[in-house]
Amino acid sequence: MTPPPELLAAGTADEAVAAALDWVRRNTPPTWVGAAESGGAGAVRQVRSTAEYRAWYPTFAGSGLAVPAWPVPYGGLGWAPAVAAAVDRALRPYHLPRLNPLGLNLAAPALFAHGTEEQRLRYLPPIVRNDEVWCQLFSEPGAGSDLASLSTRAERDGDRWLITGQKVWTTWAHLADYAVLLARTDPDAPKRAGITYFLIALDQPGVEIRPLRHIGGEIDFNEVFLDGAVVPDAQRVGTVNDGWRVARATLSGERQMVSGSGSGGVDRIGGAGAGRLVRLAKERAAAVPGTGWDDPLVRAEITRLWAEEQLRSRTNQRVRATVKAGRAPGPESSIGKVHGSDLNQRIQARAAALLGPSRTTWPAAADAWDDAVEAYPDGMPAEVRGALRSRANTIEGGTTEVNKNIIAERVLGLPREPDPWEGKPWREVPRG
């Protein structure tokens, strides 16, 4: 996978932008280029299916433009961050989103921080190309908010490890080839001191993936049962029992989401933005007078939601501006997850409520009733789907309750609670 020489040759930001634009215009299907240059990202989405984009993606990734700031041997172009950022902005109208987010944002940071050179050369290029898709095996039924109390065991067997336990809330596990895995290697150490970090191949007999239906009737998550699953010791990242420290690196992606300065994806899982609320409310007012935008209470509620969404976005801008100016972001960077998740729930609930009684029924998707119940989400109004999905926003990636405690302690400096189990062996601490 050698990147095109004209990209590698670019030195300044201007040269890089020119070379990247040139590359994209030459290597992207003309209809996409046309759409991008006339109507931007929105127009691209209109002419391009997800499947088409996936099929073309390896060409993009092979150019190094997916991770231009990474070193060339790992799949990047070795550009300085400022150069990469300039190119990113220039390519925005072409709408070339990165695939394999958990590979890029979880596995890669761990490998950069604690992996061996062999591991990086082996795993990073296929991550970039989306040839090997990744997921995360961290949470367990008994270890949610208290992730470090996890129980999945890894037992050494010569130059390999045998993994036994149960993981849950595994996004995209059924589509993934590999996972980053935390497992307990020393039950007699305090909980954070007996965990090791592994890379595990999912296509093997000891791994069973069961889809988990959520309250909207859809499958976003999986349970993963590990029963003697095999991990070669070469797939261990960092030293034995040092996995919690390694995980901090992979969790940076999640922390970014918590900080609100990341992609902001979590803010929008489940539904559209507040601007949509105004349009929906106007439609509703036209259909059933007095119950939409023409109801002053509805109007006031939507106005505040829209305002809060503006302030959410302004706050993220402040964080970005601070980081760009080379300063450490302040307390404003800590509130994104807690505020964004709550706000999104309120926006989505308001959207569904604007449907009135029709949020409570929809046409059955099949004639046979048991088939219809299986297909519960088919035909469900999008606003209802969004409202149901958004109930998880305040749970996934750290509950609002836990995150508020973290904000109070780490940002405001309030004292920690006394923990009678501090420093005690994991084995002795009640769990589950």
Partner: protein, 361 residues
């Protein structure tokens, strides 16, 4: 009737529902076309008199007051019992009784009390444009034309009471030949409370009562029972949450020992108890018509909002498990949302309360 409901009807109902419609059975019935177990309904009629709770003794019922019915509905809300309880006992019977139509009562109340007939009320969404169902006299018989988008148990009820626009204003019309009506089962947000689209293509109907003057008060009775059901929903959400918080351990402690959980649980309790005060008062208050309308509106509005909030809190405090299809929390959340939309949303009923204040102060 071996074991009729007595003074502790609420407790007895709770026992009956818990025994014969536990959560696992609710899950089974959710997947059946009817959405409930007709055999169980008839058995309850024989053994407890459930369908005839509010029907006077002269028509084969137990003639219990609204307060006792409310206790039964609270119990039904706690278990999400799958049955035509609201449609038949909560809506159709009060409407029949309020109509003052002795002939209709004589004809339909006894089979309802016996569990051999279920009924429902088809009420078009107001104020969704013009009258959704028109009643016209053709050749000396009433004929109904139009559609009602959502009728609770509309696909299974043996008797449809339709609120339709007659030439002299709104009236109650009964359709006994339900096969003459196009009934399309709908997928419902709340799978434990089934609804159907009902379309009338000039079908024959009989008029019930002299005019529609009894409709508003009868619908308020149904609203009070929905409110009572919502109290059960909220109470069960609180109880599930408290039980989980005692047993779920994180950071070496039951999560219920953390103040973040305690504060929220206490707030849930406050809402549950205020909701109960609202529903009980509406069911038991001896008051004039104006006051009865007020307390019904207040109860429906407050209980629907409280139940939805408490159910959302229950999902939250259960963490990930509360977000799964397998856990029952979402069923309660969806019932709360659904009840809010039946017989007028909270917004509508808050406006009624507001209009009352406008008049009295």
């Amino acid at each position: 009737m071996d074991e009729p409901f007595g003074t502790d009807v609420g407790d007895l109902a709770a026992t009956v529902f818990a025994d014969s419609c536990p959560p696992a059975r609710v899950r089974e019935l959710m997947a059946t076309p009817a959405g409930y177990d007709p055999d169980a309904w008839r058995r309850w009629a024989r053994e407890t008199g459930l369908p005839g709770l509010g029907i006077p003794a002269e028509y084969g019922g137990l003639g219990l007051p609204l307060g006792a019915l409310a206790d039964v509905f609270e119990a039904a809300g706690r278990t999400l019992v799958c049955a035509p309880l609201f449609s038949t006992v909560g809506a159709a019977v009060p409407l029949l009784l309020a109509s003052g139509d002795a002939e209709a009562a004589k004809q339909w109340l006894p089979p309802i009390a016996a569990g051999t007939l279920t009924a429902t009320v088809a009420l078009p969404d107001a104020p969704d444009g013009g009258p959704a169902v028109r009643a016209e006299r053709v050749d000396g018989r009433w004929r109904l034309t139009g559609r009602v988008e959502r009728v609770v148990d509309g696909a299974t009820a043996g008797l449809l009471l339709v609120v339709a626009e007659a030439p002299d204003g709104p009236g109650i019309f009964a359709v006994e030949d339900v096969t003459s009506v196009a009934r399309t089962p709908l997928m419902s947000l709340d799978l434990t409370r089934r609804q159907a689209l009902v379309e009338f293509g000039g079908v024959a109907a009989v008029r019930v009562g002299a005019d529609g003057s009894a409709i508003p008060a009868a619908l308020d009775v149904a609203r009070v029972l929905l409110a009572a059901e919502l109290v059960g929903v909220a109470q069960q959400c609180l109880d599930l949450t408290v039980a989980y918080a005692k047993q779920r351990v994180q950071f070496g402690r039951p999560i219920g020992s953390f103040q973040a959980v305690k504060q929220r649980a206490a707030e849930m309790l406050i809402k549950v108890e205020l909701a109960r005060s609202a529903a009980r008062h509406a069911a038991e208050a001896e008051a004039d018509a104006d006051e009865r309308a007020l307390v019904a509106a207040l109860a429906k509005a407050y209980c629907a909002e409280a139940a939805a909030t408490v159910a959302a809190d229950a999902i939250q405090l259960h963490g990930g498990i509360g977000f799964t299809w397998e856990h029952d929390a979402h069923l309660y959340y969806k019932r709360a949302i659904t009840n809010d939309e039946i017989l007028g949303s909270s917004a509508t009923h808050w406006a009624r309360v507001s209009d009352h204040l406008d008049r009295v102060f």
